[in-house]
């Protein structure tokens, strides 16, 4: 008797005999794709990252202006593109530099968004109100050399770091007055601007409600010990007792009271503790 219920059909499908090397070959292809990924990533201008577009444009203008500032001296033309000549440290004229415009690399992918405050709170090791004391210079690192990524020969990426002074601790083992460094992927370094799915960055001097993840990395890794949670929910600006989340987030209403937000967070923490205790 032939009958269709879960097991006979499943059993029949299990008999289908695929290439025994399928997994091995697929893994090899994927590792190869991962290595190529950073050199063949889609290049497009991000939407909404006007600050960085403006910064890139300003740098491009600066480079473009160099020949004119020098009275159009020391220029050369290569393949139809006029570029400034660069003086080496020894004083010799080097070959023409092609580093006029920053290379813009956009990393595509769906953002990680939170649909409930409970999930956001649960995923945050540290919830604080803090001020960005200093936006540190963006650096380009080799994530493999620093032990941040495994399985690849190397992986260069830009890191934007922010020195945060903690004003109020809602969750986590810190005290007001402590400072921590929170790192984010992306930013402009070595003439390469990396943008991760239209990520925004906190601004120096402003105060934010922050949801922070304490990763399993150590001081030896130098970076990404602390990261903002999610793609856009990790920090919301605070001004005049009101909260101003980033666009596309739904946890807090724009301009709502900080006290209300803190109340909701406290309730979510208590709710999480109760769940754990039960």
């Amino acid at each position: 008797m032939i009958f269709v219920n879960e097991n006979p059909y499943k059993k029949a499908m299990e008999y289908v005999d695929f290439d025994t090397k399928f997994e091995e070959q697929t893994i090899a292809l994927m590792v190869c794709a991962a290595q190529k990924k950073r050199t063949i990533r889609q290049v497009r201008l991000p939407v909404g990252s006007w600050r960085y577009i403006a910064a890139a444009a300003a740098i491009a203008l600066l480079f473009a202006a160099v020949p004119f500032i020098r009275g159009l001296q020391n220029t050369t033309e290569t393949a139809g593109v006029t570029v400034p000549m660069v003086m080496t440290a020894a004083g010799d004229e080097s070959s023409a530099s092609t580093k006029n415009d920053p290379t813009v690399i956009t990393f595509s992918g769906a953002p990680q968004l939170f649909d409930s405050i409970n999930k956001l709170v649960q995923q945050s090791d540290l919830i604080i109100i803090g001020k960005v004391e200093k936006a540190l210079p963006v650096v380009r690192i080799d994530a493999v050399a620093l032990g941040l990524v495994e399985g690849l020969p190397s992986l260069e990426e830009n890191v934007s770091s922010f020195q945060i002074r903690i004003d109020q601790v809602i969750k986590g083992g810190f005290s007001p007055g402590d400072t921590i460094q929170v790192d984010m992927s992306g930013g402009l370094a070595d003439n390469i601007y990396e943008n991760y799915i239209d990520t925004n960055y906190p601004e120096e001097g402003l105060t934010y409600l922050m949801f922070i993840d304490r990763t399993n990395r150590t001081e030896a890794n130098q970076y990404f010990l602390y990261m903002f949670v999610g793609s856009f929910d990790g920090f919301s600006e605070i001004a005049d007792g009101r909260i101003f989340p980033q666009e596309n987030t739904s946890i807090f209403e724009q301009g709502s009271s900080v006290d209300d937000a803190l109340q909701k967070i406290t309730e979510a923490i208590a709710s999480g503790s109760a769940t754990v205790n039960n």
């Binding site: 879960e6 006979p8 399928f22 893994i27 292809l29 595509s108 769906a110 990680q112």
Partner: protein, 164 residues
């Protein structure tokens, strides 16, 4: 550093993802294209796409649903492609299977795609009608209708030997 960068680019994690999901992705593709070489090509393409585009996932069910959805789209594209329309795939030889299993598989593979795919996802993967609707991009009511009609067609084809 985004989750997807870490999860997608660590070779250990790549291995885990392929080992965990290759069976489902391969067989789902097979239920669409009905021959193994094409199913393997599509499945490889699905995993490469995962490598390039996968978003971060809150849990594994989401990851699997994403992979199945991408497989469905790639199979549909493949079946619609001009190349496919100009060629005839070699029918798969299922002679190596026990007779009962190959007979059942042939019956299901001979169903129209709209009935075959819900039947595969329901009986092989154990997805609910709502989950099948999400993966295939159809309404749950439509999926329910196709599933019922598919069963009825199988009953017609198999005759008295069919039972649910």
């Amino acid at each position: 550093m985004l989750h997807m960068e870490l999860s997608a680019e660590s070779s250990d994690e790549i291995s885990i993802i392929v080992h965990t999901y290759s069976t489902s992705v391969l067989r789902f593709a097979y239920s669409y294209v009905k021959n193994r070489p094409d199913a393997e090509d599509i499945a490889q393409d699905v995993f490469i796409t995962y490598m390039q585009k996968a978003p971060p996932f809150d849990h594994e069910l989401q990851r699997k649903a994403w992979l199945m959805s991408v497989t469905s789209n790639k199979c549909k594209d493949y079946l619609k492609s001009n190349w496919k329309k100009r060629t005839a795939s070699m029918p798969d030889n299922l002679g190596y299977m026990p007779k009962e299993s190959s007979a059942l598989l042939i019956y299901v593979l001979n169903l129209d795609e709209k009935y075959r795919i819900p039947i595969h996802l329901f009986y092989y993967e154990g997805y609910s009608i709502e989950e099948i609707a999400v993966i295939t991009g159809n309404k749950p009511a439509t999926v329910g209708t196709w599933l019922a009609r598919g069963r009825m067609l199988l009953k017609t084809m198999i005759g008295d030997d069919f039972c649910e």
